[in-house]
């Protein structure tokens, strides 16, 4: 089972200084995300959800505790190795969109591939990624022309185009109505199951969590999981991923 762990946080703590006051937002949090599952963390505004995601995605280092990606300790990695990991293995869905307003979505989603692939090939994979998440018709559109739901899906396509092992999405259901939310959350769950990805998301509204394989609530720096559920590893067995047999 351990080989299927995509990201494992062990007793991770993180604080921020706000003026003279130190605020601990994560207090010895442990959380693992396995291949084939979608894990959703809910918390109120300011509860540290985004900090948790940034630490899990290797974008911020914890003050104590360890973060392991496929059993590699991020804390002892060289900067170059960490950058390579972030580029190739971890997909962070950017909510801000492209920096240029002129960029068509086909090229925006193709951007992460251009360093290693020709424009033609990158565009072909970009088109496939956009179609995969259900917004193929947006390929010629610009960011400002898209609805909130389309922007979310394009962001997911942008993060997935390099076929990462871990997809991290901060608040994928923001500003979506119930129908759009179902579409996005259904996509994230099926992506985890079919592409054998680990998916870690945060949500501000609990109805979005229903599609996740596992859920947790973040408050006062602590992560609570539902009572009566088994320890993390066994939870994966409890709600097994569909669509692909677990590798041995």
């Amino acid at each position: 089972m351990s080989s299927q762990v995509r990201i494992a946080l062990e007793k991770v703590s993180k604080s921020y200084w706000r003026g003279p006051h130190e605020t601990t937002v994560l207090k010895e949090i442990s959380l693992s995300v396995y291949a084939g599952e979608c894990v959703a963390v809910w918390g109120q505004r300011g509860s540290g959800k985004t900090t948790l995601l940034k630490v899990a995605a290797g974008l911020e280092a914890p003050e104590s505790g360890t973060v392991r990606f496929k059993e590699q300790d991020l804390g002892v990695m060289s900067r170059a190795a960490l950058v390579r990991l972030l580029r190739e293995e971890i997909g962070w869905a950017r909510r801000a969109g492209p920096e240029s307003d002129e960029l068509e979505m086909l090229d925006y989603v193709a951007l992460p591939l251009l360093k290693r692939q020709t424009l033609r090939r990158a565009r072909r994979r970009s088109a496939a990624a956009l179609s995969r998440v259900g917004v193929g018709e947006c390929s010629k559109g610009r960011w400002e022309d898209l609805t909130d739901g389309e922007r979310t899906l394009v962001s997911i396509a942008h993060a997935m185009v390099r076929q990462p092992s871990l997809l991290v999405v901060d608040d994928p259901t923001a500003n979506l109505d119930v129908l759009q939310r179902e579409e996005v959350m259904g996509l994230l769950r099926s992506t985890a199951e079919q592409d054998w990805l680990g998916v870690l998301i945060t949500v501000p509204d609990m109805p979005s969590m229903v599609h996740a394989h596992r859920i947790g609530s973040l408050s006062d720096g602590h992560l609570l999981v539902p009572s009566g559920t088994l320890p993390e590893r066994d939870n994966v067995v409890e709600f097994p991923a569909r669509g692909r047999a677990a590798p041995g």
Partner: protein, 194 residues
Amino acid sequence: MSAKNAVLGLVIERPGYGYDLARRLEERFGSSGFAPTGVYSALDQLSSEELVRSAGARPGSANERAAPRTIYEATPKGIDRFEGWMLGDSSLAPVRDELYMKIALSRPHNLSRLIELTQTQEQDCLALLHQLREPTGRPQGRPKAWSEVAVLLVRDAEIKQLQARIEWLQKARTIMHKLKEVHQHGTARGDGTA
């Protein structure tokens, strides 16, 4: 609210026998706390009021000795009654909560236990939420039929209630932690305000 209207609505949607209706009631309104046995008493009441009637029987599964199961369907009178209920006002259920009562009647030395209770309740709320999973058989993705959307809206309402509860529990726990520290500090100094 009794299970009567819910059972009548389910029978109008699709005729069924007792166990089938109990299962559908749990699936659609699981968090409403209807007891499965309530379906049978609701069917008895609905039958005696001629709002549902027998539409035949289903053989008793693989076990030949099992009694055939009566399949219920709505009568025209039942459909009229249901439409009337649908047009009527909807009441808000009164909130009767043991934790509220404990907090209201507590003293500072109870704070540690109350903090534990808020945590346990939050975990229980999360467990309930985890049980409100996808209605079985519904394809993933954007719902298309109104019946699917209606189920989602009701599920959202139930989950939002759990969310509001969890938010309140977290806020209550935060303030209890602070007051507990103040109380402990005061006790250590000998103030002893209890």
